[in-house]
Symmetry: C2
Subunit: 223 residues, 2 copies
């Protein structure tokens, strides 16, 4: 990422999204936040029900400066969130285990984003169709052009929510363990175990029409 | 898992943890819930701040029927949660992308657990030390016996929280895509792309004492 690009990005920092601890790991520029949201396959959505927190995993997608997710029109989460209530959407990508010489300095390398905002139900038909396409593309780039698009009944059964990407923060840890200076003399192994979400070879559905080949985007799936 | 084992496990179902949608994917027995909690490297903790939800990723561990997590004594999340307030802890393991013939039936294979409960600060020194050991073991089995244990200053700086595993639910999707009967005749590829969090070869810390070998638990790291 060039400095020029970085300078062009806007900040999503607000008093609520300002990272209080380990502030040197924090970032607020839109490019950093978008890249993490786009790479993460799923998010965890937090909302409040009868004063208590509920956290549900779901698939998201980003279109421009808006974060979207979808689900059944019968979903409690989606029905709660379309009432203009506060949501917190968090994504986390694990990059590795950080093994220090002391138990205390063990950590993980990760990239996470926290988005705060209120949900809005997407009612415009064109926006809804665009988002449903984008959700498929978020999971697997190239897939949306091959599939049967939603019909009217499916559109009615699907609720799509939008949250503006206006208040957010990223938190990133990279690099080796940081031990106390005295501990570096200890004969204890320390280092990183890199981790990544890795695809295996696709498994054809048993009822595939004869002669249908596995598309490249599945055979060479990559985040 | 044999039927005998299943019969022995207790149920963590409650009105609040009863899965309302796709109930056939739900499970409430302790063995199923424990296995998912133990395999997941991290959790997402939800709590309420000034009426709004906050969701933060962190490392957890399970000891018997208690879920623990830890962090800096300065952490806003941990300070909030020790005040006997409601928390929701969610873990999600992604097992694969489910590519159906229709956009609508695209899905993911996953195993997730939602735990509801109130936090309690662990103040007993022995329990605290056991949990800190268990946290290291949760991330990497075999690691805790090799590392320098926490000293008194580190213990003071670390806050450990407990949540009883009394109200929880698991939700699991496995298997191939389920398409509408009419769609099976479409010449569209469908199937599963399996996913797993995969370790790469460990990277030694640059300041490792000469002659210290990479331990087996790191060289052959496995969840």
């Amino acid at each position: 990422m060039s400095d020029t690009v970085l300078e062009q990005t806007t900040s999503l920092q607000s008093p609520r999204t300002t990272v209080k601890r380990l502030a040197k790991r924090a970032a607020y520029d839109r490019n950093t936040i978008n890249a993490i949201l786009d790479e993460a396959l799923i998010c965890h959505v937090g909302f409040v029900v009868d004063g208590a927190p509920v956290v549900i995993p779901t698939i998201h997608t980003r279109v421009g400066d808006t974060l979207y997710f979808h689900g059944s029109a019968a979903s409690r989460m989606l029905r709660s969130l379309r009432e203009d209530v506060d949501a917190c959407v968090t994504v986390t990508i694990l990059d590795g285990l950080v093994m220090a010489r002391s138990a205390f300095h063990h950590s993980m390398n990760y990239r996470s984003v926290v988005v705060l905002g209120k949900g809005r139900e997407v009612v415009d038909r064109d926006e809804k169709l665009r988002v449903l396409d984008a959700l498929v593309e978020h999971v697997c780039a190239g897939r949306s052009r091959d599939v049967r698009p939603p019909n009217e009944a499916e559109l009615r059964q699907t609720l799509v929510l939008a949250i503006p990407l206006a208040e957010a923060s990223a938190k990133i840890r990279t690099g080796p363990p940081i031990d106390d200076e005295d501990d570096y003399a200890l004969p204890i192994w320390a280092g990183i175990i890199p981790l990544s979400l890795t695809p295996a070879a696709p498994i054809d559905d048993e009822r595939l029409v004869a002669g249908v080949a596995t598309p490249e985007y599945a055979a060479r799936y990559k985040r």
